[in-house]
């Protein structure tokens, strides 16, 4: 961001609101009412973060069950029916329950504080969009216990396989509808807040990158969540109301589902990574003690990625057998995405170049993000080449690729952001030693888990298999060991963060990071219940 200096700040000292028309901020509500009826962006942000971490643990447990079965060839623990349910629910829970809501949590906490707004624009809608999520998560979880179990059609819910599932599928469809509605409301809130509630002087091109990336993400969400809703509604009517959208015998086409799904699904990928770019773009300059390199080009690159994300969806479908011109077009368009993504990586490296760097945990996770996410970017480029994609499509190579961008990308950035802002949230510094352990354990075990999957995929090991040829055993065992290591390492994160919440650890200053910039560091730590009741002046 370019030169944000604050002229005058009144961080909720009480002078501002004696003539206010609204009186809800006179007392902080207490007990369960504070949370159920929450309208404060910080409380709602906290709830989002807690919810998404619980979902991360649930999805992670499912992943560990998968890895347990895959430790050896043969079926030892779970029959394939159940294994497929685990695969499917792992994907749905991680995407819609863990990664997406956690970014909304960050948006709730940080966007108003970064732009100098008093709260999110629509406080009650904010409450509603959060409380839809536990309902949806409950439906997903109980779907394991209905006849036939949870949906086992893969997180993509491809028709016509999804037409064969039991009532667990209907529960999943309704749950995804709810989560979609929640995301759309969250997105509207972000857009209105960012566009209307910036403090005087906070022009768009002075906004922190995190606000920019979230603004663009919010537009993506509004554009594509209804498309997903359409796709799964068509599955629902095919299942129960005699329509035949995806049934060739009734004049439908199973591939239509994939087109509609991936028209949502590809922008979804960027929905899960653009806010991560924003977090990293805040942290790298802070710990390099140097301004973000190429702020404007970062904004343009983010926009370019968002626009391109709408015109590349069928690269997920190269093996469905599309015409040669279609394959060529989607191959070229997909390769183009690597250019703005590359610009971002170059900008981060240039930001670090000739800075004055220190490596506290947020910086470690950010550097880890850049390093490992870029590997996922390269495998993405390799996958964009249609002939290679046809060879490795639906193999573990793809599994490796998207875990490199979603775990080493989104999740690492989330950890970086959590360590960076947890002093602001709780008023306590986290334990640096424990956090560094968390980083190194996570980084090493992540690579042990997912790097061997590239080899498996290249050798032709298909994904979503409960059992495999014995030649694949070594790499599967590495992956399983790594996965348990990775999973257990996350308990370290939980412990470290909970310590802060329980008021243990060093008291944090208003601005605990020497090189950090932005309005959020001008309010005390922990941030008071209400901040910026009178907007600060940004020069």
């Amino acid at each position: 961001m370019s030169s944000v200096t604050v002229d005058h700040v009144s961080p909720g000292q009480g002078q501002g609101h004696d003539h206010g028309h609204d009186d809800h901020h006179h007392a902080i509500p207490s007990g369960w009412r504070r949370w159920l009826f929450a309208t404060n962006h910080k409380d709602i942000g906290t709830m989002y973060l807690i919810f998404s971490f619980i979902m991360l643990l649930e999805g992670g447990t499912l992943a560990l069950l998968l890895r347990t079965e895959l430790f050896e060839p043969g079926l030892q623990f779970f029959q394939p029916e159940l294994f497929n349910q685990f695969t499917t629910m792992h994907g749905i829970i991680m995407v819609f329950g863990a990664i997406m809501p956690s970014f909304v949590g960050f948006a709730n906490w940080m966007i108003p504080m970064q732009i100098g707004a008093s709260d999110m624009a629509f406080a009650r809608m904010n409450n509603f969009s959060f409380w839809l999520l536990p309902v949806a998560a409950t439906m997903l979880t109980i779907s394991f216990f209905v006849p036939g179990g949870a949906t086992a059609a893969g997180w993509t819910l491809y028709a016509p396989l999804s037409a064969q599932m039991g009532p667990g599928m209907d529960l999943a469809i309704f749950a995804i509808h709810l989560m979609g509605a929640s995301s759309i409301m969250g997105a509207i809130n972000v857009i209105v807040t960012v566009l209307n509630m910036r403090a005087p002087g906070m022009t768009l091109m002075k906004m922190p990158m995190f606000c920019w990336t979230w603004l663009i993400t919010a537009f993506l969400l509004i554009a594509v969540m209804p498309v997903l809703a359409a796709a799964i509604t068509m599955v629902l009517t095919d299942r129960h109301f005699g329509t035949g959208f995806f049934n060739a015998a009734a004049g439908g086409d199973p591939v239509l589902y994939q087109h509609v799904f991936w028209f949502f699904g590809h922008p979804e990928v960027y929905i899960m990574i653009l806010p991560a770019f924003g977090i990293v773009s805040a942290i790298v300059p802070a710990f390099s003690r140097k301004k973000l390199f190429g702020y404007a080009s970062m904004v343009y690159a983010t926009s370019a990625i968002a626009v391109l994300s709408f015109i590349v969806w069928a690269h997920h479908m190269f093996t469905t057998g599309m015409p040669v011109t279609g394959q060529l077009y989607f191959m070229y368009a997909t390769m183009l995405i690597s250019i703005p993504t590359g610009v971002k990586v170059f900008n981060w490296v240039a930001t670090m170049w000739r800075g004055s760097m220190t490596f506290e945990t947020p910086m470690l996770f950010s550097v880890g993000f850049i390093f490992v996410f870029t590997m996922g970017g390269f495998t993405g480029l390799i996958l964009s080449v249609a002939p290679i994609d046809i060879q490795v499509h639906d193999t573990y190579y793809v599994v490796a690729h998207f875990h490199y961008v979603l775990v080493a990308g989104s999740l690492f950035a989330l950890f970086a952001g959590a360590y960076y802002w947890v002093p602001k949230w709780t008023g306590r510094m986290y334990n640096e030693k424990l956090a560094k352990w968390h980083f190194w354990m996570t980084l090493i075990s992540f690579n042990i888990t997912f790097f061997p999957m590239h080899f498996l995929g290249l050798a032709g090991m298909p994904r979503r298999y409960a059992d495999y040829a014995a030649q694949f055993t070594t790499f599967h065992q590495m992956a399983t060991i790594g996965a348990f290591w990775f999973g257990l390492s996350q308990l370290l994160f939980l412990y470290t963060i909970l310590r802060c919440y329980r008021g243990k650890g060093e008291v944090a200053a208003a601005k605990p990071w020497e090189g950090a910039e932005g309005l959020e560091w001008t309010v005390p730590s922990p941030a008071p219940f209400h901040t910026f009741e009178t907007p600060p002046e940004v020069k």
Binding site: G149, S338, D394, A469
Partner: protein, 386 residues
């Protein structure tokens, strides 16, 4: 701390060596032990793909080293603990244009050779032999459309015994990648595979050929290969298709032309000899014996060998009212399937003798024991119902 580290490392190494020590060898036509890269390939397309992959890997590797060389140098040199003072630059138009334009040129250089391969892969014209592959839950059906074996069709199911999967027997050399019948094709001929499916989407993949084509129910798609060497090549279903997704492999046997011709003649003869005559009246014993085989190949995955099904997912046939009731309803179910459930229409997969046999079998098996109505169903009943 150091010792603890070594303990973990040692345990890992021990575990791996145990697993590898279990005398697993490279599978001919399938994966090698701990294979690191793509299959070498026995078609020009597969070899081109392997080449493209190497090219991209090298380009990406060079960029990777360049970018992260700079980053790690910076991390080493420009740190506060070394007393480095931060510069203030934060923009440079020239550099920013360069790192947009140069990657663009690199991407074009990658796209050009890939384009050539895409065009070659999609050209399924003027094939020497056409075979149709149909994915079913959970087996592949093959039919020779032309060539000396035209009209020959068969189902290929996994031949790995269940005992190996459940760990009651040691795993065989071709564990999970073997079928009872192979798709047989001649060497050095352009073989076009027309791919479709009977229920849900499957995907026909043989890595050594560089072929992976989704099988879409109700639609025909095609792919082609020209194998350069005789041999047996193995692949697996590559699109999630339900519970036995991992258990429907693809095995293709490439023969020299003369052996292929001889094989085709043999199949023709067998076809003539085995033709089932649906107008013949079969005895109960014949039908039950035949039906047991049909059941084992087509029904057992869902309804289970004991006829109890899988509660909540697949219904039991043992004691089922349709199986115990008049024959018409069961004929209807077997021939046309039950829309909206996993029960597929078998009219296209089973002939009338097989339909009659499997229905008669279910009416006599388990506790059903022929106690229901219409215990024996004749092939002519199936003909009438079609």
């Amino acid at each position: 701390m150091k010792k603890w580290w070594r303990g973990i490392l040692g345990a890992c190494v021990l575990l791996f060596s145990c697993a590898v020590g279990a005398q697993v060898r490279d599978m001919p036509g399938g994966p090698k032990v701990d294979q690191l890269n793509l299959h070498e390939g026995v078609t020009q397309i597969a070899q081109e793909i392997a080449w493209l992959h190497w090219m991209l890997l090298i380009i990406c590797g060079v960029i990777f080293l360049g970018v992260f060389g700079v980053m790690f140098y910076s991390i080493w040199a420009h740190r506060k603990s070394r007393g480095h003072q931060a510069s203030t630059f934060h923009e440079h138009l020239g550099v920013e244009i360069a790192w947009t334009v140069i990657p663009f040129i690199i991407v074009i250089a990658m796209a050009l050779p890939a384009t050539k391969t895409v065009v070659a892969m999609k050209d399924t014209s003027s094939a020497d032999l056409t075979v149709k592959a149909t994915g079913y839950q959970w087996k592949w059906g093959y039919e020779y459309i032309d060539g000396p074996a035209a009209g020959y069709k068969f189902l290929a199911t996994l031949s790995t015994p269940r005992a190996q999967i459940d760990g009651r027997e040691p795993k065989g050399e071709f564990y999970l990648m073997e079928t009872d019948y192979h798709l047989v094709v001649p060497v050095d001929k352009k073989v076009r595979v027309v791919v479709t499916a009977g229920d849900v989407i499957h995907s026909w993949m043989v890595p050594d050929f560089g072929v992976k084509q989704d099988a879409i129910p109700g639609f025909l798609r095609d792919a082609w290969f020209r194998a350069q060497k005789p041999g047996i090549y193995r692949g697996q279903c590559a699109e999630l298709c339900g519970k036995d997704h991992a258990f429907m492999p693809i095995v293709v046997e490439v023969l020299p032309q003369d052996e292929y011709d001889a094989w085709a003649q043999e199949q023709k003869k067998k076809m003539a000899a085995n033709a089932d005559d649906p107008s013949k009246e079969w005895t109960k014993e014949e039908l039950v014996a035949r039906g047991e085989k049909v059941y084992a190949a087509n029904c057992v995955a869902c309804h289970q060998a004991n006829g109890k099904g899988v509660p909540g997912s697949f219904p039991a046939l043992d004691g089922d009212p349709t199986v115990m009731g008049p024959k018409d309803a069961q004929l209807e179910t077997v021939l046309k399937g039950r829309p909206g459930t996993a029960m597929a229409a078998f009219a296209g997969q089973l002939n009338d003798v097989e339909v009659a046999a499997v229905i008669t079998y279910t009416r006599h098996a388990w506790s059903n024991a022929g106690k229901g109505e219409d215990p024996v169903v004749q092939p002519k009943d199936s003909v009438a119902k079609r």
